[in-house]
């Protein structure tokens, strides 16, 4: 069985708990952390490659702990024709994938850091962020 890529979202209340540890110990799952951005007391996101016989039980455990889980099958892209470099997305992007070059103040997007939370699609005032399936 090939590993599945999933996105995990942690609320600030659980981001300091050793949740991933239990996936390995209690459910015997093999995980590979593709990206992680988890700070204590803050909202966190993580992209995992996950495989193992107790995959479904592992996912149910994550959800029972308050972790939001979604498959990573989508990709966010920036439409440079539409983006005005206003910057409204940059303090909201949870992983810093959308950021400002300083001092030019041009907005840039690093897809490698994106966890496809799609918040930018909602907050971009000119709808320059798009999702590709």
């Amino acid at each position: 069985m090939s590993p599945k890529k999933i996105v995990l979202r942690f609320g600030g209340d659980i981001s300091d708990k050793p949740i991933i540890y239990h996936l390995a110990k209690d459910y015997d799952l093999v995980f590979n952390i593709v990206k992680a951005n988890v700070d204590p007391q803050k909202e966190g996101t993580m992209v995992l490659e996950l495989t193992g016989e107790k995959y479904d039980q592992g996912l149910a455990f994550l959800q029972s702990q308050g972790v939001k889980v979604q498959p990573l099958t989508e990709e966010v892209i920036i439409n440079k024709e539409k983006c005005t470099s206003c910057g409204a997305c940059t303090a909201l992007c949870p992983t810093g994938a959308l950021y400002l070059h300083r001092p030019s103040m041009e907005v840039d997007f690093n897809g490698d850091d994106c966890v496809v939370c799609q918040l930018c699609l909602k907050v971009c005032p000119v709808r320059a962020m798009e999702v590709r399936f």
Binding site: T84, C86, G87, A88, L100, R102, S104, K122, P125, V126
Partner: protein, 400 residues
């Protein structure tokens, strides 16, 4: 001898292709190097720019007469209502108007994907726009309803008229409450999660002429990619200087402009339909104003930097909505642009809502127009109220 130049002298140099024009960013390093006196002597015009959501924007349209005629008592453009309570077939489409039946914030936070600002953008982009009108029928205007498509080229006049644009300065918005809020300053995370500001700072027109020495009624400007004019002071025009309780000066704030221009010569990349999640629809307007360097005083103001200019930090979690006066201090645009400011002792990530790169581009385009001799400066036919007039806001009292 102190520099004194007239509009006529500067225009003569522009016509001769000899005017020295710098952007409000470029002039900063020149003044740092040569000083105000020499810079005032050498430079004729400083160009400014801003590219920001400006909700108080809209366009007067004359839609032309159908056969048979209709009075157009009510008008919709792409389902967005336009104000038609003026003469037959005239209408005003406002930037924040929402389509009929838009869910708005009933499913909070609403998305506001389309509104009057988007209609204006579509018109300027040459897109066909669906026109619907109804009326009650009169002897001279017998038709009672109409549905068709228009384009900007088809209709008679189309005049952008924005009653409150080009805010001199704006709040830096934060959220002290414990829940995420959705505002015209963007999404503000709880407990000082982020700070949003909305100004081009050292490139912004009214921050560079705080005493309204040159910007006045009739000033020719860059508006939406075309040429426009200052029509009046903007609504809520209360120019002044920001001071704290100890009398420290944090730079100018409070001025606004009403501006007007021919929509038909404007460009879609400088008038962009805009949506604020959980707040509403708007129009992002590109606006640039040339400042004639008449003397050293004008130059001194035109060359102030992001370090000298500050935004008041305001809590939108409670204080703004409840109209509780005061602020949480001031942040300089230099600090805001660095990406982090300190509020109540906490490091807070700061992000703009106003595009600095586009503001820079506008100042550069205006500079080019002037250098080519295509754009002459106008002396105001009347000065606008300035800080010395001491204008202050009236509040609205709820009377029963």
């Amino acid at each position: 001898m102190a520099t004194e130049k007239t509009y006529a002298e500067i225009n003569a140099k522009i016509k001769a292709g000899k005017a020295v024009v710098l952007t409000a960013e470029e002039v900063i390093s020149l003044v740092a190097e040569k000083g105000v006196s020499r810079a005032a002597r050498e430079v004729d015009v400083v160009t400014t720019g801003t590219f920001s959501p400006m909700c108080s924007s809209g366009a007067f349209l004359n839609l032309g007469h159908s056969k048979p005629r209709i009075k157009m008592q009510k008008v919709w453009l792409n389902e967005v209502p336009a104000y038609a309570g003026i003469a037959a077939v005239d209408a005003y489409i406002g930037a924040t108007e929402l389509p009929e039946g838009d869910p708005a914030n009933s499913n909070f936070p609403g998305e506001f994907r389309y509104g009057g600002g988007h209609v204006i953008h579509d018109l300027v982009a040459g897109q066909p726009v669906k026109l619907k009108a109804v009326s009650y029928g009169t002897d001279c205007y017998p038709r009672k309803e109409l549905e068709t498509h228009i384009t900007l080229a088809d209709i008679n006049e189309a005049v952008l008229f924005n009653p409150r644009n080009s805010y001199q300065n704006y709040n830096c918005a934060v959220n002290l409450s414990s829940k995420t809020i959705y505002t015209y300053m963007g999404v503000l995370k709880p407990n000082l999660g982020n700070a949003h500001y909305c100004s081009a700072g050292q490139l912004s027109p009214l921050l560079k002429d705080p005493n309204f020495l040159t910007i006045g009624l009739g000033t020719r400007i860059f508006l939406g990619g075309g040429v426009g004019y200052v029509a009046w002071n903007g609504t809520q025009h209360f120019p002044g200087w920001q001071k704290d309780s100890e009398g420290n000066n944090y730079g100018p704030a409070g001025g606004t402009l009403a501006v007007i221009g021919d929509l038909k010569q404007m460009k879609p990349n400088w008038l962009v339909g805009t949506s604020y999640f959980g707040y509403g629809a708007s129009l992002t307007v590109g606006l640039g104003i040339p400042i004639p360097i008449l003397n050293e005083e004008v130059m001194r103001f035109a060359s102030v930097t992001d370090t000298d200019l500050c935004a008041p930090i305001v809590d939108y979690g409670e204080a703004y909505g409840q109209r509780i006066p005061g602020n949480l201090g001031y942040a300089s645009y230099a600090d805001l642009k660095s990406g982090t400011i300190k509020v109540n002792g906490k490091e807070v990530p700061a992000a703009p809502l106003s595009s600095y790169p586009k503001a820079r581009e506008i100042a550069a385009i205006l500079k080019e127009w002037i250098q080519k001799g295509e754009f002459l400066l106008t002396e105001p036919v009347q000065k606008l109220p300035s800080p010395k007039d001491g204008l202050t806001a009236n509040t609205l009292e709820i009377r029963v």
